[in-house]
């Protein structure tokens, strides 16, 4: 072997006596460093026990807004508490998985958490959320949009603090709607926008991928048709949950889903389209209409600023209320966003609720809206001038939030949602009537633990 052990060992090191001499000061140095570290650690421990409590806030990834709010509230607390943020995974389902696994192991490091509303009942039912004190409940629901309060409630009790409230709007290219002769000042239906887009050779974007966003779309359709996915949530016994997937409204919702997916306006990759890919399609030359969250607007402005998108494109953007299923029935747009939960095993729930009130203050919500594009749950924020300047469509968002419908509220939301995704995907493959029956059969069997998911 060219690299014999003996040879390589002797290479690149000082002879033995020299080595010994040079080692001694190094050892002394190491000892001093160890002492310093130990002293520092001890001092830190001491400071912790007597001074500010550290609250850990598990946040969903954003553009840095929550970390900024945490820093501001830490400053405002005047030393009573310090908020540290811990980042959760990117998608809502993985965020839920991580939080639940931690809470099931009684993790007391979770003081505050940013929760996606449909998962709140599951956390509350499992006893993972510290009860909201009455006075806090009263303050945090005052002047808050109805859908955000509903999204924080389980079993007629407020279990989380409304933070920011999201909703989908119908985004359209002014030029396309004008060319198609569609009056966008009046409520429009899915049939109308598909017809207009087909006539102009443009796209209608919706989220047809097999993910949570498909449930969001289907829920909006069925609620807009006057129905509900769950008619009786039966909090005590999951096997008794009653589904409304075979109702007339559900059949109508399925018809619309099929009509959109099968139309020429759906585009080539409708069955894999997410919120992001829908926004990309809308930014392209084929963009006509899309249902999507408000983030699409700052996204287009950012792209125009970066030079990857023609500046005339975002100028052509406009938004209105979600499309109707039937002409005479008001639409029920999707409701989303984030609400704050306080961990049941937190060492200082009172301080955590105090911090939650600071985080959800009107000023912080307005700032978060402007900088991160996440709409507020507080109604007052929509009158803020800065907000109106950054989001000319803010009044539409507020109107949409007023009529938005939350997704089904049940501790078994994951089973319901994944069951719907399995049955209604791909959207072009659904059959009005029989898909609802098949979905009901699957979800019932899954809830009775007689089927895999």
């Amino acid at each position: 072997m060219p690299n014999a052990p003996g040879r390589s060992r002797s290479r690149g090191r000082a002879p033995a006596p020299l080595r010994r001499r040079s080692r001694q000061p190094r050892r002394r140095l190491a000892g001093a460093a160890a002492l310093l570290v130990t002293a520092g650690t001890l001092a830190a421990c001491d400071g912790d026990s007597g001074g500010a409590s550290t609250l850990t806030w598990y946040i969903n990834p954003d553009a840095g807004g929550q970390a900024e709010i945490a820093a501001r509230c830490t400053e405002e607390a005047g030393g009573r508490y310090t908020i540290e943020t811990a980042l959760l995974p990117r998608d809502a389902a993985s965020q839920r998985e991580q939080l639940i696994r931690r809470l099931a192991a009684n993790d007391d490091s979770i003081d505050l958490m940013s929760l996606d509303p449909p998962f709140i009942p599951e956390f509350a039912q499992a006893g993972f959320l510290a009860p909201v004190p009455d006075d806090v409940a009263e303050r945090v629901t005052e002047g808050v949009v109805q859908s955000a309060v509903e999204g924080s409630t389980w079993d007629d009790e407020l279990v989380a603090v409304p933070f920011w409230a999201n909703t989908q709007l119908l985004w359209y290219r002014k030029s396309v709607a004008e060319a198609a002769g569609l009056d966008m000042t009046q409520p429009v239906t899915w049939d109308q926008i598909v017809e207009a887009a087909e006539g102009q050779g443009k796209l209608v974007g919706a989220q047809g991928t097999r993910a949570e966003s498909l449930t969001v779309w289907f829920n909006a359709l069925i609620e807009s048709a006057g129905g509900e996915i769950i008619t009786d949530p039966s909090p005590e016994d999951p096997a008794q949950i009653e589904l409304g997937l075979t109702s007339e409204a559900a059949t109508r919702a399925t018809e619309v889903m099929q009509m959109v997916a099968e139309s020429d306006a759906a585009g080539a990759a409708f069955s894999t389209s997410t919120e992001d890919s829908t926004a990309t399609g809308f930014e392209s030359d084929d963009g006509g209409f899309q249902v999507n969250y408000p983030f699409v607007y700052p996204r287009a402005l950012g792209a125009a600023e970066a030079g990857t998108l023609d500046p005339s494109v975002p100028d052509d953007y406009a938004a209105t209320i979600y499309p109707r299923v039937d002409e005479d029935t008001e639409a029920a747009p999707p409701y989303g966003g984030i609400n704050l939960g306080v961990g049941a095993f937190s060492q200082s729930p009172e301080l955590a609720y105090e911090a939650a009130e600071c985080i959800t203050s009107d000023e912080n919500q307005a700032e978060y809206f402007v900088t991160n594009g996440n709409p507020a749950s507080s109604e007052a924020v929509y009158d803020d001038e800065e907000v109106l300047e950054a989001f000319p469509m803010a009044p539409v968002i507020r109107d949409s939030l007023d009529i938005a419908a939350p997704r089904p509220q049940t501790p078994y939301y994951n089973e319901i949602s994944v069951g719907i995704q399995r049955s209604y995907h791909p959207p072009s493959g659904v059959t009005p009537g029989s898909t609802g029956e098949a979905a009901t059969e699957l979800i019932d069997a899954v809830l009775e633990k007689e089927d895999l998911l």
Partner: protein, 319 residues
Amino acid sequence: MSTTTLPPTKKTEPVSAPKGGISDRARSERKLGWLLAGPAFAVMLLVTAYPIAQATYESLFDYRLTDPDNRSFTGLNNYWVILTDTLWWQSIGVTAFITAVTVAVELVLGFGLALVMVKALRALRPVLRAVILIPYAVITVVSAFAWQFAFDINSGFVNSSFAWIPGVAADTDWFGDRWTALLVICLAEIWKTTPFISLLLLAGLAQVPEVLQEAAKVDGATRWQRLWRVTIPNMKAAIMVALLFRTLDAFRVFDSIFIMTNGANGTESVSFLAYRQTIARLEIGLGSAVSVLLFLAVVLIAFVFIKLFKVDLAQARGE
């Protein structure tokens, strides 16, 4: 004789083996062997046997993570639920398909790459080995994202660069159909793990005695004949070990499916099913039962390989 191999018995038998019984030296060597392997064996028991035993125990219960108070013993009911569900058999089918396709292609490609590495010029060899190994060094999730972006209808380059291939067009939605999605998943797996199989085969190639090659050459055997009648028969053990390892690995495919399709369009594998029951649905009992069945499938594969194809793991190590 159609193939030429050295008789294995002569190679492994000690020159002066004592007749009957174990010598003192052999006994003390065996003792030393246990002493050396013992700690590792204990650690293996702790990190593998214990979780397997616990999963087997949990699989007999109806147990939801968020509702531990209502945990109840249900015997083999979870297994009955799984084995009577078409989704399970569909996942088995998808997993077997991915395993068969990827392992077969990887074996051929890996063998080719191993031959290239053996025959390459001495100066080129280290560079070549490093280049071939790069995909294997990439984390599976990262490789899955890279392949997903490449085939994505919006951001990918495949649709525009390969439009000259019949069936590929600007509007080809690779992940919107079961077979095209499986094709991309298989391609990503093949790209990533062919280096592994080629490394194992390279070790096997190095074991083929040069004397046999020379003897065959003297007898006038062509390159092709030498490959089929000398090289491959002499590295059969290495090939079988490579196949065994890769089959076991491929049967547990998860990352690529999770990233690329999330199980949509009938692309769910058995591992994915276990993940969905245990982690997403929080049904620890049902999910554990799926995991136990997956474990049994893997044991069965290993058993079939070792008993039916007579894979000798010791021979592959050159003992």
